[in-house]
Subunit: 719 residues, 2 copies
């Protein structure tokens, strides 16, 4: 039956070929070879071929095995190069030591994509062989999926080239998974939940093709309504950010990333890193990209299904309709947790719901139909949102009662769901009760109607739809750059590297700040006591004196810092004390002089930083600064693209943001100036690739238009 439309389908594939990028051949190949096809039903080489055939693939199938013969009534080619027609994809299922040779043959044949099922490469330490495979493939313009994968399913051409899953239901959800075991289990779970799939790709070691490549296809694949990704680690994060941002602009992406806990996270070397744990950065960047992150498989599935089948709300005026006060309050709590706004115009609510709510019920939100409500009452009440232009979404709650005939439950929900679909308004149901209620949940979920046994689950799905909606209007796709003197910064870095240093000294850091245009306290390095006095008089009091020595990193510990210097005499005393202490602390230290610094007035202390993240490339950071950084851990992160609006969003994320707005009658602080400093630090990390870490703590922020002072900067560099 399925083969009937084969010609038409192949014609469609050919049209696709002309208009689209290469990656489409992976998802919609006109032909597939199975290298290692086997008659042994226990072997993966049999299972894959069998799944391709029985899955109803609409293209040519070429079994390949040096032994020849037949498999599943198909002639086996001894070599891929013996195949006369073009081969778009080859699935390789032979032992690891033969894979490179097979890849070379595929490349010579002009195969466009190989999917290497075989394991035993970089995941077991054999990274060299994997590199060779990718190099050989790339030389011929061939791309590699895997190795160490279970295969791929693509509904577009009914291709199931996995070795494990059968009877995959076609549908609107695409799954990209880095874990094989979990991926296979997830396919099974989608079938139970009646979640149809548009594609499932096992990406394994990501030796070549990664999530970003696959997203490029899925963005334009109209059948795919939602993308679910299971991620363990990110390579090439900058590309991933771009791909995710493009994708979420068109369809929702839900990600599960394990390794959230400290136990899993690597101890990052620099301070910014230690604050973060890579998971905080991952989390921040997913938010920035408009990606919805789920912790549990349960949530991820619920959300994907809801996002795939629910119309977008036109506004945020939601109503809760219930027959029990208790669950109504629980739903109200859940709405706050998941960012669902409850409609609050009492007059409109009263007018809309008065005709359908009994006198001892409530037309306030939650609308309470009372325990006496039957199916007809629910039907009338749940029709109100579908016909009221003022209501955008509905949360329907039901506690089992004797008044409501259980046989009426399924029809009532089907009918009110249908009305919401027709009105293009979201609705989510939570129903609580015994066997009849549980059966209703199973029945309705199989029909992809969003019915849950728990109030929080029901509301969370709607919350994710709103979260996605908000991200659509809120994603930053251009970077604001500050004007910085890159050449001057490069010269400072050259100087430090010439001394084999991978950090900048305080006065070098100050010089970088100046070259970047960040406001810093005035500072001069004095080589003598007379010069110190001269600089002090120029800068003005109060002052700080600090020893300058590449051999003394922790200046305070060495007695190398003197604070609160208010006159000439104190400058002279402090100069001598700083020099004396430093020499006593480390007699062989090379001392360049003493830095005479303007002492910054008090203000709101913020930390601003940037670093080159091993996964995501340049990132910026800001937070509650000074001595509270490690304690309060009130920090926000962003990757690029990054602009002023995004910097403002970062600041607003901080619990301490009200300090910048001014608390207890204090005036608003110079937020605009602080944003410029963040943008500048971001520009430096992007334009000076030898800088790996910048941290300014504190940036003291003054009143509006009074600017800020970057008091202490710490910059790490690499050759």
């Amino acid at each position: 039956m399925r083969w009937r439309n084969c010609d038409a389908d192949l014609a469609a594939v050919q049209v696709v070929e002309k208009n689209s990028s290469d990656i489409r051949f992976l998802f919609a190949p006109r032909s597939i070879a199975v290298i290692g096809a086997s008659n042994d039903t226990d072997k993966i080489g049999y299972k894959i071929l069998c799944n391709i055939v029985s899955g109803g693939y609409r293209g040519e199938i070429y079994p390949v095995n040096p032994r020849g013969g037949e498999v599943l009534n198909r002639t086996v080619y001894k070599d891929i190069e013996d195949v006369s027609g073009a081969v778009d994809v080859a699935s390789i299922v032979i032992p690891a030591r033969f894979v490179l040779d097979a890849v070379v043959r595929c490349a010579r044949k002009g195969v466009k994509f190989v999917q290497i099922i075989t394991s035993g490469f970089s995941e077991t330490g054999n990274a060299e062989e994997e590199r060779k495979i990718v190099a050989a493939a790339r030389e011929h313009g061939m791309r590699v999926l895997g190795p160490n994968i279970f295969g791929l399913y693509s509904s577009e051409v009914s291709l199931n080239s996995t070795f494990s899953a059968t009877g995959i239901l076609p549908g609107r959800v695409a799954i990209l998974t880095q874990s094989g075991a979990l991926g296979i289990a997830l396919i099974g779970k989608t079938a139970v939940e009646n979640i149809g799939l548009s594609a499932i790709v096992s990406i394994g070691n990501k030796s070549d093709i990664d999530e970003a490549d696959l997203l490029d296809y899925l963005i334009h694949h109209d059948t795919t309504g939602v993308i679910l990704m299971y991620v363990e680690g990110v390579k090439n994060g900058e590309r991933l950010i771009e791909a995710l941002m493009r994708t979420t602009g068109r369809k929702p992406v839900v990600v599960i990333k394990s390794g959230r806990s400290k136990r899993g996270a690597q101890a990052a070397a620099s301070h910014t890193g230690s604050l973060a744990g890579s998971d905080d950065i991952f989390d921040a960047i997913m938010k920035q990209c408009g990606v919805i992150r789920a912790d549990s498989i349960e949530d991820a599935f619920n959300w994907c299904k809801f996002l795939a089948f629910t119309p977008k709300p036109k506004g945020n005026r939601c109503v809760i309709i219930t027959n029990g006060g208790g669950v109504g309050v629980m739903a109200t709590d859940a709405c706050e947790r998941y960012g669902v706004d409850l409609y609050d115009d009492q007059a409109v609510l009263k007018e809309s719901f008065e005709p359908v709510v009994p006198s001892f019920g409530s037309t306030k939100n939650p609308v309470d139909l009372t325990g006496g409500a039957n199916a007809k009452d629910y039907d009338r009440a749940l029709t109100v949102p579908t016909v009221s232009p003022g209501i955008d979404a509905t949360i329907a709650l039901y506690c089992e009662t004797a008044t409501f005939e259980s046989a009426d439950l399924v029809p009532m929900i089907r009918e009110t769901y249908r009305k919401h679909r027709e009105a293009e308004k979201p609705v989510t149901y939570a129903i609580v009760g015994g066997r009849a209620v549980e059966d209703a949940i199973l029945t309705l979920r199989r029909e992809n109607i969003p019915v849950y046994g728990d109030v929080y689950e029901a509301v969370s799905s709607l919350g994710m739809l709103y979260r996605y909606q908000r991200s659509l209007s809120d994603t930053c796709d251009v970077t604001d750059d500050a004007v910085i003197d890159v050449a001057a910064i490069d010269r400072i870095i050259d100087g430090a590297l010439a001394e084999n240093r991978h950090f900048l000294l305080a006065h070098e850091g100050s010089a970088v700040m100046r070259a970047a245009g960040v406001q810093i306290p005035q500072t001069r390095v004095a080589r003598s006591i007379d010069q110190a006095v001269e600089f002090a008089e120029e800068i003005g009091y109060p002052l700080v004196l600090k020893v300058v020595s590449k051999d003394i990193l922790h200046k305070s510990d060495a007695g190398g810092v003197a604070l609160d210097i208010v006159n000439k005499e104190e400058v002279m005393d402090a100069y001598e004390a700083v020099m004396h202490n430093s020499r006593a602390f480390k007699p062989d230290a090379s001392i360049e002089g003493v830095e005479v610094c303007e002492m910054a007035a008090k203000g709101t202390e913020i930390i601003v930083g940037a670093r080159r993240d091993p996964s995501f490339g340049p990132i910026v950071m800001c937070g509650f600064g000074g001595i509270y950084v490690e304690v309060m851990k009130d920090v926000a992160f962003r990757g690029f693209p990054f602009n002023r609006a995004e910097a403002m969003k970062m600041l607003k994320e901080l619990r301490s943001f009200p300090l910048l707005l001014g608390v207890r009658g204090e005036p608003r602080k110079d937020i605009e100036g602080l944003i410029e400093a963040i943008i500048t630090v971001g520009t430096v990390i992007r334009k000076c690739p030898r800088i790996t870490d910048i941290e300014i703590n504190p940036v003291v922020v003054y009143e509006q238009k009074r600017g800020h002072k970057a008091v202490d900067s710490r910059i790490l560099i690499t050759g």
Copy 2:
């Protein structure tokens, strides 16, 4: 069949009577009357009688209705007073206007408990009638459950006097619910989940009997293993705290309280309250009582079931056993979230698991059996924890694979669960996959084996068991009091009340602090410029001068405060400026003088407070103080009993606790002194009932043994 043991059971009830408190008659009455018994099958008066009879109640049943006749083949008494035998409980199901009369008759008859099903009392504003009912009952020593309830179920005598639930399965979980609708729905859900119930009580308006009374019975009821409470609001919180603490010492209590969100919470008047929202206080007190709080019904049920059936772990050495790395990492994340410790002794793990893990697997924790593991491999691996004295609990994970025969899944889990039961060690399973896996979950859950479809659910249940275990050794049941001069404080309050003030002036607040023994900066009120100079020289510099006037509350705004006064001349200038500004600010203000205060040196700023909470009575509070209070909202609350150990736990809960330990090489602060201050403030709120709110912000805490200074106190009082 059930009636066979009736005599023996009644004998047991009679023994109970002699040894126990009254409340047992509510749960194990020897006889029950239904006032309003009816032949009309639609009426509640019929349904309740029918449920009592068909539920197999093992005592005497007396239908009462002025019309007489027969109901369900039983003679109907026209009046309760016509019943010749003793009546322990009467269920009242007649219209609200007749209830008071029925209650009076019951009281005269010597009924011990009435349960008033009827609604239409305080919940609809008719509080007066409810008060009369309780007064009439109390006069005769009779107690009242309700009104506005659906009834009660008690497994002890197979009593189902609810009007809604049938076929209730007896078991180990007791449910107390304030919401009728949700309660009825929950009973249904327990049946589906095969959760047996020992009791279910609808508590409705709590006119007389509340949760604390019912807990008194459930504590000693051996059949009850776990108690689930659904709470909307707390009356008489001090009694509830006591009852909960006694109960959790013997069995776990899980609570769902709705109204967590701001939308539901009342705006509390005082500052402490506004920080809290009553939900924060509820949450803190539940933790203090060792109660486990669930947000969702799903979590509450999962946890109750697990707690009811799982042996207590002997230690916190848990292992994760998995066939997939991905779910292993997810479980590791979940362990961190839910406070489950993972065993980390690599040598022991290696020795224990090496014989059962393939060479390419992992004996580290998570123990990875790899995707090749079959049922036998799982059985061997899951036997290890049951025989290893070094392992206390197991988290077993399974991703569906082709290697593992699905028919083996249920038997494998049954068998390994049995071994864990025998070894008295907890185990929790998360299994992910298709239809076979979902069916296994349904089958095994019906057998009360803890199998979940989601890793986080599986781990959360174990986490709650550990949370309960930890609370057992950790609950504070005695109050530490400070020595305070109550008489002196009372005189200050008298003085303020005599002026019709409900707040204390600054110098009065200081006097209260002195009487309580809280360290405060030295301070004297000067009535003249000469006196100010005299006091200044006595106290020493630097100093602060503040105007003292009951008419000027916001002294800074009035220019009534001068800081940083360092010598005699500045005292004179400041005195004149403060007086001048204050008079200019409010010409008719009555000015008592100028307060000359020691200026507290810098230190770590903490807020310490106490108030009389409308639900829970006296509570104490501490947090990150100074200007950061409202911004960082880093505060902790406690009710009473409250002692030094509990105060230390409060401090440790604060994100800012490391500031007290000393960050960046700073010395440890005087935590002991701070704890004394918290204890003292707690003593004041307990012993001075006219004080409603105390807030000291900041308490500046110095280095260890250097004490602290309570810089600014704000005290509210009531007549």
